[in-house]
């Protein structure tokens, strides 16, 4: 017998130590377990009990009906259309191969599909339990035929769904924008607003800016389920009915919009018409345009069109040229300097400068547009009426660049107007400070370029419209906006009215100064550069022409023709409109002269005549294309 067996273990010192260690380990482990149970069951219980109730419900979301977009004359420019989609329920579809073939062959004959295509679609999605989408947007006549053959087509399902539709296609496309599936970045930003993957969201234009109004509220049906995802029952008290999105009423007049689009025709450019008395935009055309409907349904045809749009880097159809592109402001910018001259009495309006066609500064030549001709002696009124560069070169060196950029900023150049459309450009107004920030020094030549709106001056048409609005209102302007009011989709009652908001308010300029400028602008139309364009128009419009140099190479010279004006000046301010017209690559062509188009725009607004009538009245050639 072993000795160790004869002695009781507990008498050993070592045994006692080990026994204590083992005891500690056992009760410590049990304590850890109990502590964790306490933590989860008692302390963190609320969090878990909430969690577990949501896992036992299945939520089926019902998308809301998107709000309509309506113009001021009551036309629906964006609404929803019912389409029919064809699905196949694989669970109901016959398992017997020959019967199944029979069904699919009949179906392929009806919807004019290849039998193998249908088989391939089903095969590719054989693992999904949901119904398989076979064809989208099938014709109503086809739907009728399928309904006739229902008993021969088990497993074939037709479902209705609503899609966005823009009934006027290209008209107003830049303003409306379009909707599309939400992308990961947008999803990350809008997740807490209830957006989910595959939701549709406004991608540009009104659809984007007024997304919150148009979207409506998502509804849901709640079902109780078990872990095998089998629906047990509907929980009706938790059901939320979807709320349709609000109707957005535009200040655009659709008839007028169509007219100005006809007037612009296929010239690359833009036309903007705005009411100076409250900032409402009544017409906004930009060419090239696009058809927003191609972004809604994913068909091969639409994809091809989208691809062509993406490839068109010169025409850039998606760019709204009234506010998403910047141009040299050209001679219209002379009004800024004129304001400075008149307001601060820097030069007498009667002081004359001589225009010989060329201005020399430090061995550099700066030309007038009339070169090789000349304007002769001109005072301020003559300088504006004839848009003489030489007069303003002389004047600019007296006024100085600091004053010019100060007045330009006062008029709202160099900053966004805050219109309710996305991606507005701010433009650039150069100054000594600005050029320093670019790492360059200011030369006097830069002053000469700036005063005639060339060089680094970059403005949007909206800012030009704003400039004219300030002059028209004699010292203030309203924030341009395109949406007039938001209405309830149910009873059409007013939910929100967009009140005009002051954008620019100039206090230190006398109203008399604006009267004088208006007089000068009238001279432009009666006897100046826009004389022939407005010939025969009985209403008293005022305006300023401009020719901007887009790019200059030794061989080619790309210019753009500009006109900004308002009127009629004998009408009350509430009835006047401001019109800005831009045509790119005008090459001094008669048919691309912006002032002529502006005249027709004015006429069309005040007489409600369409393009053909207007063009006939002014002897404007009606052509298929004006390119």
């Amino acid at each position: 017998m072993n000795e160790s067996l004869l002695r009781k273990p507990k008498d050993s010192r070592n045994f006692q130590t080990r026994f204590i260690i083992i005891t500690i380990i056992i009760f410590f482990s049990l304590f850890i377990i109990l502590f964790n149970a306490l933590l989860i069951q008692v302390i963190r219980n609320p969090e878990f009990s909430q969690k577990s109730s949501s896992t036992r419900e299945k939520h089926i979301y019902i998308p809301p009906i998107r709000g309509k977009i309506i113009t001021s004359d009551g036309k629906e420019v964006a609404n929803n259309r019912t389409i029919f989609n064809l699905y196949i329920d694989n669970n109901v579809l016959e398992k017997n191969i020959s019967k199944r073939q029979k069904v699919l062959l009949l179906l392929s004959k009806i919807i004019n599909f290849d039998y193998n295509d249908i088989e391939n679609i089903i095969k590719s999605k054989v693992n999904t339990k949901e119904e398989i989408l076979i064809a989208e947007n099938i014709k109503f006549s086809t739907v009728q035929i399928i309904k006739e053959y229902t008993d021969q087509l088990p497993g074939v399902i037709i479902k209705e769904s609503l899609i966005r539709e823009y009934p006027y296609n290209e008209t107003l496309s830049h303003v409306l924008g379009f909707i599309g599936p939400i992308d990961p970045n947008e999803l990350a930003l809008k997740k807490n607003l209830g957006y989910k993957q595959f939701d549709l969201i406004g991608k540009s234009g009104i659809e984007k800016v007024y997304e919150d109004e148009l979207r409506g509220k998502e509804g849901r049906k709640v079902y109780a389920i078990n872990a095998k995802m089998v629906i047990l029952e509907e929980i009706e008290e938790k059901e939320i009915k979807p709320e349709p999105g609000n109707e957005v009423i535009l200040s655009i007049d659709l008839e007028f919009q169509k007219n100005i689009e006809d007037i612009l025709a296929d010239r690359t450019g833009a036309i903007l018409a705005i009411r100076p008395s409250n900032g409402e935009i009544i017409g906004m055309a930009s060419y090239p345009r696009f058809d927003p409907n191609i972004y809604i349904l994913l068909t091969d045809e639409n994809n091809e069109k989208k691809r062509l749009i993406d490839l068109d880097t010169k025409g850039t159809p998606l760019i709204n040229r009234t506010l998403q592109a910047v141009y040299p402001s050209a001679s219209i910018f002379k009004l800024v300097t004129t304001t400075a001259i008149l307001n601060e009495n820097l030069i007498s309006p009667e002081k004359q400068f001589y225009c010989g066609g060329v201005y020399r500064l430090n061995n550099q030549e700066f030309g007038c547009w009339i070169r090789p001709g000349s304007h002769g002696w001109l005072n301020l009124e003559g300088g504006i009426a004839n848009s003489c560069n030489i007069y303003f070169f002389n004047a600019s060196l007296i006024v100085g660049i600091d004053k010019i950029s100060q007045y330009a900023k006062m008029y709202g150049f160099g900053k966004i107007t805050g219109i309710d459309l996305p991606s507005e450009k701010a433009g650039i107004i150069p100054s000594v400070q600005w050029k320093k920030e670019q790492g360059q020094t200011w030369f006097q030549g830069d002053t000469l370029n700036t005063v005639i709106g060339q060089g680094d001056v970059k403005v949007t048409l909206l800012q030009l419209a704003n400039l004219l609005s300030v002059i028209c209102n004699k010292g203030y302007s309203f924030k341009p906006h395109i949406v007039k009011e938001i209405r309830s989709p149910i009873d059409g009652s007013l939910i929100r009215k967009i009140e005009p908001e002051k954008h620019i308010e100039i206090k230190n300029v006398d109203t008399k100064t604006f009267d004088i400028i208006e007089k000068y602008l009238r001279t432009v139309v009666t006897s100046g550069t826009a004389k022939w364009a407005f010939w025969g128009n009985p209403l008293k419009f005022v305006g300023k022409t401009g020719t901007g140099e887009m790019s200059k190479t030794p061989t080619t010279r790309e210019t753009c023709s500009l006109f900004a004006g308002y009127g009629p000046i004998d009408y009350p301010v509430e009835d006047r409109i401001v019109v800005v017209v831009l045509v790119e690559n005008d090459n001094n062509e008669y048919l691309k002269y912006a002032a002529r188009l502006a005249n027709m725009v004015f006429h069309s607004w005040f007489t409600k005549e369409n393009f053909t009538q207007t063009a006939k009245r002014y002897g404007f050639p009606i052509k298929e294309s004006y390119r």
């Binding site: 000795e3 009781k8 045994f15 482990s29 069951q41 963190r44």
Partner: protein
């Protein structure tokens, strides 16, 4: 043995804790399978198993303690044969199972008891000096490694893991040198190294973590291991005085260097085949998913999230028997076997958890008392082994449900559905009670 003596020395606390747990088990197996018609009669089967277990328990009480040791080798050999036979049976749920007439017999469960008995017998016969030798420890490991290897071939990772605490606990109690035990523990961690970082890379970095990919690159590992091998050889030379002129005081440094470096060398070398052939991908991922189950909510993290939800949903007082929201709606997998604890926790709340832990504590309290009063070392080691087995089962099974342990499906003693382990547990309790009864029969050999 006289009847009166039997009733006096009968361990009522241990016995009734066990019976109470079994009754709880039957009620909650019924509740867990309520929504599964095909498993509806499992609770009746559990009653039958409990009765069989009880019969074994009573039978063991009348067995003289010395047979436990003298028969242990035969018991061990028979079960080894049983494990070998099991390997010729077809797979059921990914494991080879010996099943006859619908009842499956898991020798691996009974093997735990046999190993405890044989290991205790083996170690108790060694003198204090012999126990300090490495040779003894290696033989002890051999006793354990045979069933472990056979169980791994089934393969049944969870059951295999139980043998590690059994080995460590008995050897610790027997006074094997602590550095050997430390070596074993570190060695197991070293073997787990490659699977762990592979799982980290797979789960949390989508196999794209550059540093881990660099570590896992076989080229760099080979260079690293070669360097360690060379240094080990140099150290061994220095240690055994083949390289002469080294100060005696530095010997100890070389000893510990060989100690730790060999763990790294052998552990990581074995780690590669373990990673590649033994562990499946899901097992590797399960090792780590409990750190952050939200990472793969619907896949690997599903069990653990659902289990925690179910436990948390119980609250303080529970939802009531057969009224658990999640339990009754198929949300938990394997809820009668591995995930029985969440069922109890949801339907009885924290009170239920407290009750279970209390009953287990009573068992351990009695177990430790029996251990302390054991009449000799064999019995002390047997009790230690049994307590280690029960503790590991409780800690792993409940810890897994609570999300503090990796997921391995092992049953909760007395509560989980399953005949073999229930009978094993009853046998274990029977052995405890037997040792308790005979603690004064000093010359019962």
């Amino acid at each position: 043995m006289k009847i009166s003596k039997f009733f006096i020395s009968f361990d009522y606390i241990l016995f009734f804790s066990t019976i109470l747990l079994t009754i709880l088990s039957i009620f909650f197996i019924y509740s867990a399978n309520l929504s599964k018609p095909e498993l509806h009669y499992d609770y009746i089967k559990q009653i039958i198993f409990a009765i069989i277990g009880l019969t074994f328990l009573i039978a063991i009480l009348f067995l003289p303690t010395k047979y436990l040791t003298s028969l242990s080798l035969w018991f061990y050999i028979i079960l080894i044969l049983g494990l070998i036979i099991t390997l010729f049976f077809p797979y059921v749920k990914g494991q080879r199972r010996l099943s006859i007439l619908g009842f499956s017999l898991q020798f691996s469960e009974f093997m735990k008891i046999a190993t405890i008995l044989l290991l205790s017998t083996f170690l108790a016969k060694k003198t204090e000096e012999e126990k300090k030798k490495l040779e003894t420890y290696l033989k002890a490991i051999l006793i354990v490694i045979i069933p472990v290897g056979l169980i791994l071939l089934q393969p049944d990772l969870g059951t295999m893991l139980v043998f590690i605490p059994i080995l460590l606990a008995i050897c610790f109690m027997a006074g094997i040198k602590k550095r050997y035990l430390l070596y074993t523990i570190l060695f197991i961690f070293a073997v787990a190294f490659i699977p762990t970082i592979t799982a980290i890379n797979h789960l949390f970095f989508n196999n794209e973590n550059e540093i881990i990919n660099l570590i896992l690159n076989i080229k760099y590992i080979t260079i690293f291991l070669t360097i360690i091998l060379i240094t080990i050889i140099i150290s061994i030379f220095a240690l055994f005085n083949i390289i002469k002129g080294i100060d005696e005081r530095f010997r100890i440094f070389f000893y510990w260097y060989v100690f730790f470096a060999s763990i790294i060398l052998i552990g990581i070398t074995i780690s590669f085949p373990v990673n590649k052939y033994v562990l499946k991908e899901y097992q590797r991922d399960r090792l780590l998913i409990f750190f952050n189950p939200e990472f793969d909510k619907k896949g690997k993290g599903f069990h653990i999230i659902q289990s925690k939800n179910t436990i948390g949903n119980g609250g303080l007082l529970g939802k009531g028997w057969t009224k658990g929201d999640l339990t009754q709606n198929y949300f938990l997998p394997e809820q009668a076997t591995d995930f029985i604890y969440p069922v109890i926790a949801e339907e009885m709340g924290f009170i239920g958890s407290l009750l279970i832990v209390l009953l287990y504590s009573l068992i351990f309290f009695r177990g430790l008392t029996i251990l302390f009063n054991a009449k000799d070392y064999i019995n002390a080691y047997i009790v230690t082994g049994i307590l280690a087995m029960l503790l590991f089962h409780i800690l792993e099974s409940m810890g897994m449900c609570l999300g503090i342990m990796p997921i391995t499906g092992i049953p909760l003693p007395f509560l989980s559905y399953g005949g073999s382990f229930l009978i094993t547990s009853y046998i274990a309790i029977g052995i405890l009670m037997n040792i308790n009864m005979n603690r004064y029969n000093l010359y019962d050999y």
